[in-house]
């Protein structure tokens, strides 16, 4: 969160002048179950990327690279939609550091 401003410094009319700034919020803290991808099974078909409502599937150079765990809310859509059955949902308490750092 940015530093709170006094009312005199606030833009008039509720204008927000920082596009995409919601990214600062760690919605990943809501997650109860963590998606874990089995890279041997994943074919990078990118279905999970298309159906993630939180833009939390990371794609680089046409490849599925894992999850943005800072934002993933753990809904489980990606695991359900995956045609290769490559994504497992694991209880957050048991996930440890798995899937972190891509």
């Amino acid at each position: 969160m940015p530093e709170p401003k006094g009312w005199k410094e606030l833009p008039i009319g509720g204008i927000i002048d920082s596009p995409g700034s919601a990214r600062d919020l760690e919605t990943g803290a809501w997650r109860a179950r963590r998606p874990i991808v089995d890279k041997d099974k994943c074919t990078s078909c990118l279905q999970c990327w298309m159906f993630c409502p939180d833009m939390a599937v990371v794609v680089q150079a046409d490849k599925m690279r894992g999850f943005d765990l800072y934002h993933c809310k753990g809904c489980g859509i990606c695991a359900k939609i995956c045609p290769a059955d490559a994504i497992a949902m694991v209880a957050e308490a048991e996930a440890g550091t798995e899937g972190e750092g891509g």
Binding site: I16, L46, M55, H71, K73, C75, I77, K80
Partner: protein, 317 residues
């Protein structure tokens, strides 16, 4: 100067994944909500610059929590009932500034998002007015079948029998009484150039419709089924499968009306019984009891009748 996009981004997942997010992570919509998925797909279909206008509702509230915003494009929210009127003003101002030479015409597309509460009910007159006046804008209704942001109150889009906080299940009634309003048909009756129905589980169909709509120099309307797992009562992971059942049961047919000509854009190979769709969601759980069987039968008959009529209008029977 009018700069037409030379080659539109191909509708393949690989090409689309290269585009920057126009709605970003960090929005506060519930896990598994279909509304941000609808926005993602609609805005990804458009290569041109966009201005987004949003009615009050979950989408607006949860994406613009001050001092942050999840919108990566120009965005304006005014009130619950006047998103289409606000968008009309944006469009008129844009045209005027271009005419005066103050800005360049860069083919900016104006896209409005409203829930069913704002589109079917409280903002219907401003929506109707904007369509009738012929503003060049695309209005997208994300129809989650109730007023979700204020706690699942029934709207005129709520299906018969659905349990909501203002159409509860009890001794007197078994959920919502009466059929839902057909807003897509009402929009088609305006005689505007483009009207369609879509669902994000069929992303290519949805995105093709958005492309058609935004290419038209006039008003267009797309009604998109959008599950709210809090209100519909299902596992958030099942959002896509449930949307598919809605379409495969013909309860939510995918079709378009282009200059008055009807076309069914997807015909299910197997028409799934409506009861499969109902059984997938807790809001309809009580309908599965034998005493309420008659409600399911009446709904199935209604769905069949509407589907047959649509096929006739599309010249498919």
């Amino acid at each position: 100067m009018v700069t037409q996009t030379e080659t539109p981004t191909r509708l393949t997942l690989r090409e689309l994944a290269k585009k920057p997010d126009r709605l970003t992570s960090g929005h506060r919509m519930c896990p598994g909500c279909a509304a941000p998925l609808v926005v993602k797909q609609v805005l990804m279909a458009i290569d041109e610059p966009v201005v987004v206008v949003c009615a009050t509702g979950c989408l607006e509230v949860a994406t613009t929590i001050f001092p942050q915003t999840a919108w990566n494009v120009p965005f304006i929210h005014n009130a619950f009932e006047n998103a289409a009127a606000t968008a009309s003003g944006v469009e008129a101002a844009y045209r005027s500034l271009v005419r005066q030479g103050k800005i360049e015409d860069d083919n900016t597309r104006i896209v409005v998002f409203g829930g069913d509460g704002s589109s079917y009910d409280i903002g219907l007159q401003s929506l109707s007015g904007a369509m009738e006046r012929g503003h060049r804008l695309l209005y997208v209704c994300y129809d989650n079948n109730a007023y979700m942001n204020t706690g699942i109150q029934r709207s005129s889009a709520t299906p018969v029998g659905a349990n909501t906080t203002t159409s509860p299940v009890g001794k007197v009634q078994a959920g919502k009484k009466g059929a839902r309003k057909d807003l897509t048909a009402i929009m088609a009756a305006h005689g505007i150039p483009y009207v369609a129905q879509a669902s994000p589980h069929n992303w290519r169909d949805l995105m093709q419709k958005v492309r058609k709509a935004t290419a038209i120099d006039g008003p267009s309307f797309i009604n998109v089924l959008a599950s709210c797992n809090r209100g519909w009562r299902h596992d958030p992971a099942d959002t896509i499968e449930i949307q598919r059942l809605g379409v495969d049961s013909c309860l939510w047919p995918l079709y378009e009306v282009e200059d008055g000509v009807y076309r069914v854009t997807y015909r299910p190979k197997v028409k799934v019984p409506v009861s499969d769709y109902l059984a997938s969601q807790g809001r309809f759980g009580h309908l599965l009891q034998p005493a309420n069987q008659y409600i399911i039968e009446a709904l199935q008959a209604d769905v069949d009748r509407r589907w047959e009529r649509l096929l006739r209008m599309a010249g498919e029977v």
